[in-house]
Amino acid sequence: MANYSHPEVLVETDWVKQNLGKPGIKLIEIDVDTKGYDAGHIPGAVGFNWQTQLQDQLRRDIISEEAFEKLLGDAGISPSDTVVLYGDNNNWFAAYGFWLFKIYGHKDVRLMNGGRVKWLNEPDKELTTERPKIVSTQYRASGPDLSLRVMLSEVLRAQPGKTCNLVDVRSPDEFTGKVIAPPGMTETAQRGGHIPGAKGIPWSTAVGPDGTFKSVDELRTIYVDQKGVDPKKETIAYCRIGERSSHTWFVLKYLLGLSNVRNYDGSWTEYGSIVAAPIEK
């Protein structure tokens, strides 16, 4: 598929259609607004709510290993299953889910290219309001692989440009500090701007007009040649709450095949509130 470094983690909508209902292949829709799932989803797909099911509800964190195991067990998923993720908002939250699945060591997890909007707009693809019948499992996670995640202390120590690439995937207005968050968003920060040394490369740079990923050649031209992401260095992606950056993390790690890419899920809502942290506008 388009010569991606890890083509096995991406499936097309046609592939999903051909494999609907096959044993060992499980579909999960991950939305920030689950009204979409409720109104209609791919037949057989389970729905996860990013806010209430993938986030720890007490402290600000990803869900614990135990919570992840319970979530997947209740969704009828086994560690040996092929899990295909898709979702709203151009797969941002599905990409976050992909990152979480990788942290907890799920071997075969894939993203459906183009997300729910692509499936929705293809005339031969069905949607249903019927919820799948689930036989729950005892899921056991392996991991966590925290090498995929960056915490604030490491971001503060990082030397963007020298020892690592720092990629800010938010919109230009967020990058320049004109706005702290897109209009209407509740999660915000105390200050606007970006982390000094970060390159502003909006997440949407990676996709075409239909929301599917650009070819590996286009991606390499954009990220490496034009924007100067050095493939030999470690790369950290961040956004506002860590979901858009999961999307770019996926692109850089699996499609372009950069060796060491990590997601800073604390992102601007954390960094932009730290007392005395350096900020550029």
């Binding site: 929705l120 309001t129 207005d173 897109p182």
Partner: protein, 308 residues
């Protein structure tokens, strides 16, 4: 009740806000439509088309994404004819419009606003309405004002001929806003056939705006009805001016115009200053009554003194 060439919505001249005597500006008061906005024209065409094609038989209802006006028109007309409408509404639509939708008889589904949409992918309310229409096709038909040519036809058949007749063919400039683009495409097509020299000016709010019903050019990918060959200029106006200009119209012209009309006026005044002479028609989509909460948000001081 619906407007036509014989029974047009009023066209009135601005007397105080336009300083250029050689370039009169006329406002077409679309809030004089029976359900209060320009959207009556499209809503009626969309509804009749569904009925004629038998799409609303056996109790099948309608689902439509709307920032309010189309929904209010469509709900009122649909209920009057025995159908139900599910209106899918972005949360930033003002409360007045949401309540009006319910009063008009719509079932309401409000969704959280867009986070950071990519061009061309549609927005949340359109995609959710499409999801209902696809997953529950037995319950819902979707007129889809963003893609349905009946929306354009309605303006080609009514708005265009009304303006031509009311101005006795003197119109040189048409000023419109962009939403579904049915108004601009249908009206401009008719007027250009009558006089190819008429300039069509679209006025759009700045990105990240808060003017319900309108789209910045970056959001226009969702409309299949936009025809750039019919538009001479696209003027971008700071969206805050939509609110201050609406207030100007209310307080200085006796026109209780809404924010999209304010935006159009600001764009029109820019062109009047540039082109010096002409005969301009502005399509004012709706009046101010549905926007009091938005006005309070954008006009400092308007909310003060409203409590004892």
């Amino acid at each position: 009740m619906l407007p036509s060439e014989e029974n047009p919505t009023p066209l009135v001249r601005l007397n105080r806000l336009n300083p250029h005597a050689d370039f009169p500006l006329y406002a077409k008061l679309e809030w004089m439509n029976p359900f209060g906005s320009v959207k009556d024209r499209a809503a009626w065409a969309l509804l009749r088309d569904l009925e004629e094609r038998g799409e609303l038989a056996n109790g099948r209802g309608l689902v439509e994404p709307t920032s309010g006006n189309t929904g209010i028109s469509l709900a009122a007309m649909a209920r009057a004819r025995g159908h139900r409408l599910l209106a899918v509404v972005p949360n930033k639509v003002p409360l007045e419009k949401k309540v009006l939708l319910k009063i008009a008889g719509a079932d309401l589904e409000v969704i959280s606003d867009e986070l950071c949409p990519a061009p061309g992918l549609g927005d949340g309310s359109i995609n959710l309405a499409k999801t209902h229409a696809k997953a529950s096709a037995h319950k819902y038909a979707m007129p889809n004002q963003y893609e349905n040519s009946k929306n354009v036809e309605a303006h080609y058949r009514t708005t265009g001929p009304e303006i031509w007749k009311q101005t006795e063919g003197k119109i040189t400039h048409l000023f419109v806003s962009l939403g579904t683009c049915g108004t601009v495409t249908g009206t401009a097509k008719f007027l250009r056939e009558k006089n190819p020299k008429i300039k069509i000016i679209a006025v759009q709010p700045t990105e990240g705006h808060d003017v319900p019903g309108l789209r910045n050019i970056s959001q226009l990918g969702v409309s299949k009805l936009f025809d750039s060959s019919l538009v001479d200029d696209i003027i971008e106006v700071d969206f805050h001016l939509a609110y201050t200009r609406a207030l100007d119209l209310c307080q200085n012209e006796g026109l209780l115009a809404g924010p999209s009309s304010g935006l159009i006026l600001e764009g029109a005044l820019e062109i009047v200053a540039r082109d010096k002479s002409g005969f301009g028609v502005m399509i004012f989509p709706d009046n101010i009554f549905k926007y009091t909460s938005n006005m309070i948000k954008h006009i400092p001081g308007l909310g003060s003194g409203t409590q004892p």
